[in-house]
Amino acid sequence: MLGMLRPRIRRAFRLAIRRDEWTDADVDEELRLHVELRVEQLVRSGWTRSDAEAEARRRFGPSWNDAVRHLHRSGRAREERLAMRERLDSIWRDVRHSARALRRSPRFTIAAVVTLALGLGFTTVIVSLVDHIVLRPLPYAGVERLVVLRESFGGPTPYPYPSMPANASHFLEWQRHCTVCEGMGMIKRAWYTVTGDGDPQHIGAVRVTANLLPLLGVRPVLGRAFRADEEQEGRDGAVMISDAFWRGQYGGDPKVIGRTIILNDVATEIVGVLPPGFSLPGGDELGQLSGLPNPIDVYRPLALKQRERITSGEFDYVALARLRPGATPEQVRAQLDPVEAEFAARDGGATTLASEVIPMQKEVVGGAGRPLLLLLAAVGAVLLIVCVNLANLMLVRDGAREHESAIRVALGAGRARLARMALAESFVVALAGGALGLLLAHWGLRALIALAPANLPRVSEVRLDFRVIAIGAVLTVIVAVVVGALPAARAGGTAPSDALRAGGRTSTNSRGAARRRALFIGVQVAFSTVLLVGAGLFLASFVRVMRVERGFDTDRVLAVDVALPSRSYPSDTSRSRAYERLLAEVAGMPGVTGVAVASALPLEGETWVNGVWREEDVGTAREHPTANYRFVSPNYFKVIGTPLRTGRVFDESDHTHQVVVLSERAAQALWPNENPIGKRVRAGGDCCSEVIGVAAEVRTSTLEKEGSLVVYLPLWEYPPTSGAIVVRTKGEPGVVTTAVRSAIRRVDASIAVPRVRTMGEVVSNTVAARRFQLGLLALFALLALVTASVGIYGVIAQSLASRTREIGVRMALGARPWDVHRLVLREGLTPVAFGLVAGVAASVVAGKGIQSLLFEVQPGDPGTILGVGLVLAIVAVIACVIPARRVTTAGVTTLLRTE
């Protein structure tokens, strides 16, 4: 058996270059013997010696030299193959050895695998978010040449929206001037009530120029695309439907082409079905105020009315262009700006107009990039803490096994072999953690997509695909190397004699080890601090956003969206009467204490923006303050809880003359420090309405920012085709939902009620993105805190374990438990303090990068930093005291007896 080992050992010690020579020599010797024996055999059977020698060689083939060369090659191939197999074998042996070793210490193994799985899993999840949302090109052919065209205003008074979607008449002019554009298309939002089969349905739609979908490189999978002549009024009755709508509404019936669909009481024909996965970016993803529906179920040709072709007031069209190859957005701007200047001059020249040409990818991803990159950094920090922690745990294990290693070294095991064993262990742990992490990522990503705010762009594209899994795998290998590097480098580094003499406690006692422990604690604490401060700042921002004076109540207020079908309610009077009937019906429901109608809810955006000026003012709308116009029923202020500052609200007597209620800032802007009641304003140009009241400020679009000035007009001035019924309830608002729905159905079953929400939910929706970021960041910070505290605990426990006897002696000599605690706390808390200081400094610097995501909190917020410091200090003290207590309560004799 020992004999069999020899060639293997020889192979192992041979250098690769020398190996070939040795092999050749072996082959030569083997062949020499063969020839000798063959000659002897032949001579015995009567051959002459010289004939026999020739024959022996001849039996190797026509050319002896060729045969030898050939066999040398085969021999070398054999050795190479064997060497490789041995390498694989020894790796496998190492893996099995470490797996056995890990099984023997299940607590360490579980802790290591679970923390790694969490770290790697969360990292994979965030990587896939960043990858799919930020990095990957939008799913349109040649997206790098697609740009969004918008218009920006400048002038003497600041505009609430300096950047707007395009104006149709401007767009038509651009089309004639932009020679670097291959094509240009427009999109206008539309909402339709679908009637015909079943309950009326309120769906999102867009009207698009015939060339828009081809511009994006999209072709219908069924039916045909739009024809250019369908952009004319009267011929625009063709629609294409989305894949989701096709499947949901028509069960994926291939014979859907040619079927009639009734949209807002107009019969249209389905001419095409769009491919699965295709969608236009919904919401404001194509720029502020673009407000496209999400999802978009129906696409219909955009037939511009003559009025739209000439008016310059409506900036309501999302314009896209495809650049010619090689053209730049700057070139487009250079071609469009002269057109813009001409339009501005035609409007009197008080305002300036300029074009904005934004690459589509940038516009869509825009604001989402920064928060996601922040989350990526956060999860990266968590992974780093996990790695540092794990490296330390590995070293501790190694320390405990130093005796064993020293024996191995003394018995002749190479340093390389010990290093390989250490690496094998970290690979086994990392691979297990990586596999479990992948599973976590799979679930985590699904949960995250479900929880993601609706305005997170492209979230439907996010999935755990091969590319992300590959990134996760690479990360796993990196982690394995990082974690294993230190123990591997140290493996066999100690002289065996020292290790053996000291009974296996050298490195854990040495000065170097103490420094290393301090460094590990410091690094973990520093990164945890940064994460905790980040999470703290987000939390503080969130709390402050929620505490903003929003100007309405959320308790016991229900918002019911309604849309009146235009055929049944074609006129203002008919709509006005419909609202009156709805109000009366809903008010009669039990549990309802008040009900009102508004054209738009607070926080849901400003849909109607126009100039407002005093009776005596002259000039066009753009030279005067802009205001957001809202149409409300008299009861509205009381029902939604917006306090009236002065004057009165609308009442029935106001039907005879025009009246308005202003927001506080609107009143202040028009009549600074004067009583506005009784003054007259031109609302949208009409002369003139009497100001009868001033209402408190209301957040119109977001909680974070003040909106435009607000002008409230009575509902009867312009009863909207769709609006919201606001209901104040006696008890829990959810309870009356069904009653309200049935009340509306009693008035008219064809009125669509897309959704019923509490005002609390409306508020909650506007902070969804903030809550999402805060939730993830808090989760990562918590993970960091737990990992770091376990790390501190581990380090202290390890340090104490190596000094048990020393402490026993101290206590035998009269040291009290408190003295031991003080000793431990000093060792543990010094690096914690350093880490804390470094972390705070780093977080103040790094905070600059997230300032735009915060609300009324500065990156260096003392309260947050103090809080984080306190939390970390408490956790660190606990992590130190637990192992210390275990030692001090063990009893002196036990301590002294410990080996």
Binding site: G3, M4, V27, L33, R38, F60, L71, A77, R78
Partner: protein, 113 residues
């Protein structure tokens, strides 16, 4: 002298394994054993034999070590490994079935004309 039968491709490896199944041998002993068993009917090429030995060793179906012959000459001795034994058994079974089938078909008498 009878016409030599060319060794069917792949069978040399099995033959070598079979030879070594009797006990460790060096290269010449394997050659001599095969020549004796085939009574010279097989066209054995000594170069091919060593190729086979190296190939089998690379696959770890046989293992080699240096030893000495009875006459105290250094020789590389080969022996069958556990994997080699299993390989030999399965190859033998396959070969037997194959040969029996082919033999059965070929020994069918010609149809009467």
């Amino acid at each position: 002298m009878t016409t030599h039968l060319a060794v069917v491709k792949g069978t040399l490896d099995v033959l070598v394994l079979k030879a070594l199944a009797w006990g460790p041998m060096h290269g010449f002993e394997v050659a001599a054993w095969l020549e004796a068993r085939s009574a010279g009917a097989l066209a054995l090429d000594d170069s091919g034999l060593y190729q086979a030995l190296y190939r089998l060793e690379g696959k770890r179906l046989i293992a080699a070590e240096w030893g000495v012959t009875e006459n105290n000459r250094r020789a590389r001795y080969y022996r069958v490994t556990k994997a080699g034994r299993a390989h030999l058994a399965s190859e033998t079974k396959t070969w037997m079935r194959y040969a029996a089938t082919v033999t059965g078909i070929l020994s069918e008498p010609h149809p009467a004309t």
